[in-house]
C-alpha cells in the first residue's frame, strides 16, 4: 500500500517535471532566431513565394499565437504523436525508436562496465587505504574527473581504430549490410569503443564514492569486533564491507544518469555512432525543432528514472530502512 502511494507520488512529480521542462524548452526554442519554414525548405527558400510560405505556415499552425502552438504540441504529445522530423522527413517517434536502441545499448554497456570496475577498484582502494595502491587509484580518478571525455574518445579512436585497426572507425553497424541482417554481435562490436570511452570516465565517480563509503564502514566498531574475531582480507570484505557498501554505491551510480547522457552525446559524436546524442546534435545544428524537443523530453525522463531508481534502492530494498523507518 505504501509502495503504491509512493509510486503515485513519484508519477505526479514526473508529470509536473515534464510539463515544466516542455514549457521551458518550448519557450527557449520559440525565442530562437531559427525560422522553421526556412529550416524545412532549406536551400530552395528563394523559390518559395510569400503565398506559398503563408500556406505552409497555416498548414503547420505557425500563424497561430505561441500559447496556442504550445497547447497544440502538448495535446499531440499526450496522444503519442511527437511530430515530424524536418531533417529525416519521418515521424519523430520512428527516428527516435531506432536510435534509442543504439543509445540504450551504448549507455547500458558503459554503465555496467563503469559500475563493476568502479566498485572493484574503489573497494581495493578502501581496503588498502593510504598505501601506494590507494594513492594510485585516487590519482587516476582525479585525473579522469578533469579529462574532457570527447578528447579521450579521440585518443582511443586513434589508438584502437587507426593504429591497431581492431575496431571500426564509426557507425553502429557494418557499412553495406542491410539493416535486417545486422546481428546483435555487430551492434555490440561497434558500441565497444564508445562505451569504453564513457565507462573510463564514469568509473571515477563510482570509485571515489565506493571508497569513501567503504572507509566509513571500516571505521565502525563492528569491523573492529570482526577483526578481533579473526576476519581479515577478502572474508572481512565480503561478510561486512561489501554488503554494507554496495547499495549506496549502486544508488550513486544510478543518480549519475545525467552525466551518462551528456557523455553519450559527446562519445556518439566522436565515433559517429547513430544514437540519440548524435540526433540531438544534428537536430540542434539544423534547426529540426520537433526532434530536438522530443530528445530533450526523453533525456529529462532518463535522468528522472535514474534518480527514481536510486531512491527506490535506498528506501525499498534496504530492509533496515523499510522496517519502521520514516519514508516521507
Amino acid at each position: 500500500m505504501q509502495l503504491v502511494r509512493y509510486l503515485i507520488k513519484r508519477s505526479i512529480r514526473l508529470a509536473i517535471l515534464l510539463v515544466a521542462v516542455s514549457f521551458l524548452t518550448f519557450l527557449l526554442v520559440s525565442l530562437s532566431p531559427i525560422d522553421p519554414v526556412r529550416a524545412y525548405i532549406g536551400a530552395e527558400m528563394l523559390t518559395v513565394s510569400p503565398e506559398q510560405r503563408e500556406a505552409i505556415e497555416a498548414y503547420w499552425g505557425l500563424d497561430q499565437s505561441k500559447p496556442v502552438q504550445y497547447w497544440q504540441w502538448v495535446k499531440s504529445l499526450a496522444t503519442g504523436d511527437l511530430g515530424t522530423s524536418l531533417l529525416y522527413r519521418a515521424p519523430v517517434a520512428d527516428v527516435i525508436a531506432d536510435r534509442f536502441l543504439s543509445s540504450f545499448l551504448l549507455m547500458g554497456l558503459a554503465w555496467l562496465l563503469a559500475g563493476l570496475l568502479g566498485i572493484v577498484i574503489g573497494s581495493v582502494a578502501a581496503m588498502r587505504a593510504n598505501t601506494w595502491v590507494d594513492r594510485m587509484i585516487r590519482g587516476y580518478c582525479y585525473l579522469l574527473l578533469s579529462t574532457p571525455g570527447f578528447w579521450l574518445g579521440l585518443l582511443l579512436l586513434m589508438i584502437f581504430s587507426v593504429w591497431l585497426g581492431l575496431f571500426p572507425v564509426g557507425l553502429s553497424a557494418p557499412v553495406g549490410v542491410v539493416s535486417s541482417e545486422v546481428t546483435v554481435l555487430d551492434r555490440v562490436y561497434h558500441a565497444i569503443l564508445p562505451a569504453l570511452t564513457l565507462s573510463i570516465i564514469g568509473v571515477a565517480n563510482v570509485c571515489l564514492h565506493t571508497r569513501e563509503k567503504l572507509l566509513d564502514i571500516l571505521n565502525q566498531p563492528f569491523i573492529l569486533q570482526a577483526k578481533a574475531n579473526g576476519f581479515t582480507g577478502m572474508k572481512l570484505y565480503f561478510r561486512h564491507g561489501f554488503r554494507n557498501m554496495v547499495l549506496p554505491a549502486v544508488s550513486v551510480h544510478f543518480a549519475s544518469f545525467g552525466e551518462l547522457f551528456g557523455g553519450a552525446i559527446l562519445s556518439e559524436q566522436v565515433f559517429s555512432y547513430p544514437g540519440l546524442g548524435e540526433a540531438i546534435v544534428e537536430a540542434g545544428l539544423n534547426g529540426d525543432i520537433p526532434l530536438l524537443l522530443a530528445i530533450v523530453l526523453i533525456s529529462a525522463c532518463f535522468v528522472f528514472i535514474g534518480n527514481f531508481l536510486a531512491d527506490v534502492l535506498y528506501q525499498w530494498i534496504d530492509p533496515r530502512l523499510r522496517k519502521g523507518g520514516d519514508q516521507s
Partner: protein
C-alpha cells in the same frame, strides 16, 4: 598562502600571460611546413595549413581561461543573488528551490545545447549558456547557509534597528559567505572550461574562426585517419593540465578555508563551554 595554493596559481598566471603575449599574427599560414610532426622547431607540430600548433593551442587556452573566468563569475553571482532572494520569503524560496531541481533534472549538456540553440551560438551564446547551467549547485549551498544566517540574532537585531534588507545583505551576508563564494567560483571554473570545449566541439559554441580548443579538436577529427595524432593529442593535454591546475588550486583553497572554519568552530565551542561552566549567573 601555502605552497599548495601558490604553485598552481603561479603556473596558471604564467600560462595565461604567455598566451596573451602571443600575437595573432604569429600564427601564420605557411604551406611549406604543413603537416609536420612535432619537432624542436614546432613543439606541437603543424596543421594542414602549416600553422604552429603550439601557438594555436596557447591562444585557445587564453580563450578558454577567459570564458571560464567570465562564466564562473557570472554563475557565482546568479547563485548568490538567487540565494539572497530566497531568504526574503518562503514562497520565493520554494520557487527557487524548484528552479534548482528543474535545472538539475536535465543533463548539463542538453541544457547547454538548448540555450546556445536559442541564442544562435557564438561567444555570447556560450557565455550565457554556461552561466545559466552552472548556478544550481552553488545556489543550493549558499541558500542553506543564508537561511541559517538570516535567523542569527545579530542579523535579526540589525533589522530591528531599522537597517534595510540590502544593507543587511551587504554588511552581514556578503562577508559571511565570501569564502563559499570563492570556493564555489573556483569549483565552477574547471567545469565551465570543460563544457565550453565540449559544446564548441559539438558545433554549438564558438565560431570556427576562433582559436578555441574545442574547434582545434573537432578539426583534428578529419585528420586522425591519416595518422596526424599531434593535432588532437597536445591541445587536449594542455586543456587537461589547465583543468588539473585549477582543480588542485580549488581543492587546496577549500581545505585551507575549511580548516579555518573548523578551527573557529572549535574556539567558539570551547569558549561557550567555558563560559557556561564559569558564569553561573542567574541571568544566563
Amino acid at each position: 598562502m601555502t605552497k599548495k595554493v601558490m604553485i598552481p596559481l603561479i603556473l596558471l598566471i604564467v600560462l595565461y600571460t604567455t598566451s596573451i603575449l602571443i600575437d595573432k599574427d604569429m600564427i601564420q599560414v605557411q604551406l611549406l611546413t604543413k603537416n609536420h610532426p612535432p619537432s624542436l622547431e614546432h613543439l606541437f607540430g603543424t596543421d594542414w595549413l602549416g600553422r604552429d600548433m603550439f601557438l594555436r593551442t596557447l591562444k585557445g587556452l587564453e580563450l578558454s581561461i577567459g570564458i571560464g573566468l567570465l562564466t564562473a563569475v557570472l554563475s557565482t553571482m546568479i547563485g548568490f543573488l538567487l540565494s539572497v532572494l530566497s531568504t526574503i520569503h518562503e514562497k520565493i524560496d520554494q520557487v527557487i528551490s524548484w528552479l534548482v531541481d528543474l535545472f538539475l533534472s536535465l543533463p548539463h549538456l542538453v541544457t547547454l545545447i538548448l540555450i546556445s540553440f536559442t541564442l544562435g551560438g557564438g561567444f555570447k551564446g556560450v557565455v550565457i549558456g554556461l552561466a545559466l547551467t552552472h548556478w544550481p549547485q552553488i545556489t543550493r549551498v549558499l541558500r542553506g547557509e543564508l537561511l541559517q544566517l538570516k535567523e542569527m540574532p545579530y542579523v535579526q537585531l540589525s533589522g530591528k534597528f531599522g537597517q534595510s534588507f540590502w544593507w543587511k545583505v551587504w554588511h552581514h551576508y556578503v562577508p559571511h559567505v565570501l569564502p563559499q563564494l570563492l570556493v564555489g567560483f573556483m569549483l565552477i571554473f574547471p567545469h565551465a572550461i570543460l563544457h565550453e570545449a565540449s559544446i564548441t566541439f559539438l558545433g554549438f559554441g564558438l565560431s570556427a574562426d576562433e582559436p578555441a580548443i574545442g574547434i582545434i579538436l573537432s578539426e583534428s577529427m578529419q585528420y586522425l585517419t591519416s595518422g596526424m595524432w599531434w593535432l588532437a593529442f597536445f591541445p587536449g593535454v594542455m586543456l587537461l593540465i589547465v583543468i588539473l591546475l585549477f582543480q588542485s588550486l580549488a581543492n587546496s583553497v577549500k581545505n585551507d578555508l575549511e580548516r579555518d572554519i573548523q578551527h573557529e568552530a572549535f574556539i567558539e565551542h570551547s569558549a561557550t563551554n567555558h563560559s557556561a561552566s564559569e558564569n553561573k549567573s542567574p541571568y544566563s
